[in-house]
Amino acid sequence: MRVLVVEDDKDLSRQLAEALRDSGYAVDTAQDGEDGHFLGDTEPYDAVVLDLGLPTIDGISILQKWRADGKSFPVLILTARDQWSEKVSGFDAGADDYLTKPFHTEELLARLRALMRRAAGHSTDTIEIGGLTVDNRSARAFVDGMPIKLTSHEFRLLSYMAVHVGRVISRTELVEHIYDQDFDRDSNTIEVFVGRLRKKIGTDRIETVRGLGYRLMDPSGKTGKVEAIEDHSK
């Protein structure tokens, strides 16, 4: 899962990015309104943390532009403005949640998880697929109750596939959602990661759909059917 943080305070931006990476997300940061808007406009994020008081373009305007352009990723507004009238304008502009500074990182993470969960249609942070458990809260995975060791990239890959369990996901989409923008993207590395994941969680759990991509599935219950691939790269 990939998250964009638009925050002009360097320290806060760094803290947020670290906390999010520790929780298993790929993170991009932008420190002014123009950059933030551009990134949100061009990259397929799974969630955005947006400050309101930003240089060049304010947060509300950015949000309105994104929503006008049809961007539907969940947006959490992070601001010092705690008046209800400001909350109303934030939600009216298209926000999905609103958190006021100062805040505890744990609360921000919990809310972001809830937003992404809601966007994907899950009701808990823990996704259970035939003996495989992906806990997005602690960024850990278990097979039949036994914890498995995963690198951060491996966990992101597994987490993204678990959230979209049963759907065929293209390599491009996987690249876009597990790497941040600074990473050297090579879709061949995806094959390497999928290979390593298969070794750790069981080969039959990840199906390769030739020419289309990969699909996470329950090897016993045959969950999910092949759906048309959504083109998330646009």
Binding site: D9, G53, Q83, S85, V88, T105, R118
Partner: protein
């Protein structure tokens, strides 16, 4: 208290009425005095006529008869005809006074018309002089006399001829007139003062009108001083309007500053809080504690600055329906998973007499609290009350409700009745603070939906008149 009352500036009506009384009262008093004096003069003129004619007839009928002894006696060839001169103490008398003898009417009955020595000497020193005056009569009455001095042949010293009459009828007439004149003038004075008061009040009516319109602004009925005023006070109304606008600008600026300060301080506080959370060392703990103190200080002073800004605003009113609608829309998104049904029964003719930001804060916290607790239904009702200038906003939910013994606790700052739901109770205390600042009241109760019912008594105003442009 009494001393303060004396040092208080007088009322304008009082000043103007006193000013008018200052010239009207002496003028009326002088008029009364002059009228009585004129009446008195003319009364005595008429009164004196028979006396003068008696004196004249005395002079014309006086004869001198030289005696063998060398003396000369005075005799009257013809006594005045009026029979009253013959009747004793009739009230009409005459008298001839010479240096050595005097002849009197019979009516004097041995008495005399007593002239003072000054009057006598004035007459004898200036022969031909006529004077009039008062003197005591033989019967104790007050007499009006006319006296003239004449030189008769063969007598060296001037002779005084006097006639007198009881003057009490004249005095009575004059007194009657004086009483009448003074009462008529007193009535006139009262009428005049009443007319002045009326005129002053009528003249100052635009000022009273202005006062009422300014009160309207203060009470939030209007935002500007409305109406057309006479040339003299139109600039005052204009100045008041500029002052109100300026005041509003100042408040707006203050709010902006407060908001900027909040933003400027809260981001560093967020950084420090998060950094402290990550480091479970002694330094981390100290920074964590201190940032919590700083945060509560910032919140406290922001609240105070907002309250100070609020106290200065006048004449604003805000649309309750619009605010509730916005909050419902927002809360429906915040509690998106809960599938809440927020019913609103709002009277569109009732507006809040106060700042929109405060109304939003009240409605937001109140509805947020209701949505937090509600299982599925929240009901908002806005109705007029018996009390003029106040309306009731009632928010109910179908949640677990609050026990009556906890009502007071629920409104106290920082009280959380259910620790499991973060922020519960805090919102209600903010609502209570705000509503109190607007001199309203918060009452908790049980709703027929099953949960808590919160009734706010809020200052209300009429909606603004639709713009005719």
């Amino acid at each position: 208290m009494g001393q303060k009352a004396t040092s208080r500036p007088a009322s304008l009506v009082g000043r103007l009425v006193r000013g008018a009384a200052l010239w009207a009262l002496p003028l009326l008093a002088v008029t009364a005095f002059a009228l009585v004096w004129l009446y008195r003069v003319s009364t005595y003129q008429i009164f004196d006529e028979p006396l003068i004619s008696t004196v004249t007839s005395l002079i014309s009928s006086a004869e001198t008869i030289p005696q063998d002894s060398g003396e000369t006696i005075i005799a009257l060839s013809k006594e005045p005809l009026d029979p009253r001169y013959q009747r004793a103490l009739s009230g009409r008398y005459w008298q001839i006074i010479s240096s050595d003898a005097q002849i009197s009417s019979r009516s004097l009955y041995g008495g005399a018309i007593e002239l003072t020595p000054e009057e006598q000497s004035r007459l004898t020193d200036n022969p031909g002089q006529q004077i009039s005056g008062s003197s005591p009569g033989p019967d104790g009455e007050s007499l009006r006399f006319v006296a003239r001095s004449v030189i008769l042949p063969d007598i060296d010293a001037p002779i005084i001829m006097a006639a007198a009459m009881d003057q009490s009828p004249a005095k009575r007439a004059i007194n009657r007139f004086a009483v009448l004149a003074i009462s008529v003038l007193a009535a006139l004075t009262l009428g005049l003062i009443a007319a002045i008061v009326l005129q002053v009040r009528l003249g100052l009516r635009p000022l009273f009108e202005l006062r009422d319109r300014v009160a309207d602004v203060r009470e939030g009925v209007t935002t500007q001083v409305e109406g057309a005023y006479p040339r003299e006070i139109a600039p005052l109304a204009q100045e008041l309007n500029s002052l109100i606008t300026h005041n509003r600008d100042v408040v707006e600026r203050a709010r902006t500053h407060v908001s900027n300060l909040a933003h400027a301080l809260k981001t560093p506080l967020a950084v420090l809080t998060n950094e402290a959370d990550r480091h479970q060392t002694e330094l981390g703990n100290i920074v964590g504690r201190q940032t919590r103190t700083m945060t509560s200080q910032v919140e406290h002073h922001l609240a105070r600055a907002r309250a100070a800004a609020r106290a200065q605003t006048t004449g604003t009113r805000s649309d309750i329906s619009a605010s509730i609608e916005a909050m419902s829309r927002t809360l429906a998104r915040i509690y998106g998973q809960k599938d809440l049904d927020i019913e609103a029964d709002l009277s569109p003719d009732i507006w809040f007499r106060g700042e929109k930001a405060d109304l939003d804060e009240i409605a937001g916290n109140l509805l947020d609290n209701a949505c937090k607790w509600a299982k599925g239904r929240v009901r908002v009702t806005l109705i007029a009350t018996g009390e003029t200038g106040f309306a009731d906003l009632i928010v109910e939910d179908d949640g677990p409700g609050v026990k009556p013994e906890n009502y007071r606790k629920a409104l106290q700052r920082g009280e959380r009745l259910d620790e499991a739901i973060p922020g519960t109770g805090f919102g209600l205390s903010i609502v209570d603070d705000l509503v109190r600042a607007y001199k309203g009241a918060v009452t908790l109760g049980r709703s027929d939906l099953g949960g808590l019912s919160v009734t706010l008594r809020l200052p209300s105003a009429l909606p603004p008149k639709p713009e005719t442009s």
